[in-house]
Amino acid sequence: MLEPQFESALAHRAAPDTLSISMREISERGMIDLRGLATDKKFMSAVKSVLGFDLPKAPRASTSWGDLKALWLSPDQWLILCTRSKTNSLLAELNAALAKIHSLAVDVSDMRAIIRLEGESVRETLMKGSSLDLISDDYKAGTVRRMRFAEIAALLHVVEENVIDIYVFRSYAEYTWAFLTKAARKGAEVKLFKR
């Protein structure tokens, strides 16, 4: 039987040591795009019965328990994060719980590439490509934001003060990687307001 060969978008990329931040691809994460109405109590409680916690209702918020996370994308859309190997079973559980409820859960684990950025200047590095005020209080740990980054669409997840995951569609992974390696190179750091 054919053994499936797994190859993530940036499998061949390692960050050069000339960067002011650290940067790597996260490929071991499973992702489920979940649609349903936040106003639909049955939907919300069915999802809670599977995840063990409430989906976040506040814009740009995220909730989590263990290796499960739910990122708010829209009043009727969330991105559920899990360990990649558990994606199929989680999706099956969600579909079972949501069988009679208007919803749509899709495995999108391969649709986006995730790049983890770590370091004191991650926010300023991202601000070379994003018009958002990422050094403001709007972007505390846990915040999720879809945005325009450089010339493409991206999803930002503030994991910790100095740790940010950036999600881009898989086809743009190389572009994003190239942009970030250029923006984050040593010597080009920008420190805003003496942060």
Binding site: L73, S74, P75, Q77, S131, R145, R146, M147, R148
Partner: protein
């Protein structure tokens, strides 16, 4: 470059994070009665738009944000957004009152229908 604020998710951003969707409150005749649509009705629906100097009503989409469409009332001279409101809603009453020309006529008609 305008700053737009989405009334659905409250996110503010450059207008390039949003998508401008043309004039608001254009009614599609076929949705209500697909059979009796005159050529004039269809022409008005497809092509006839207001172009006011001053208060205008528009459609925008929170393109790079929550993805939702919404309505905005904007002054085309000062560029100020007077209000944003739901995509199925009419503007706030005070702005309906402020509306001039074809917009005033339109809202008068809509409010009459509602009543």
């Amino acid at each position: 470059m305008l700053v737009v604020t989405c009334p659905v998710c409250n996110a503010s951003g450059d207008e390039t994070d949003f998508h401008y969707g043309g004039q608001a409150h254009v009614r599609r005749p076929a949705t209500t009665d697909p059979v009796n649509i005159t050529d004039e009705d269809q022409r008005d629906y497809l092509f006839i738009r207001h172009n006011p100097k001053g208060l205008h009503f528009e459609r925008w989409r929170c393109d790079r944000g929550c993805g939702k469409w919404f309505h905005a009332a904007r002054d085309t001279v000062t560029m100020e957004f007077k209000a944003t409101y739901g995509i199925t809603e009419l503007p706030p009453a005070e702005l309906i009152k402020e509306a001039k020309g074809p917009w005033a006529d339109y809202f008068k008609k809509r409010l009459k229908e509602k009543a």
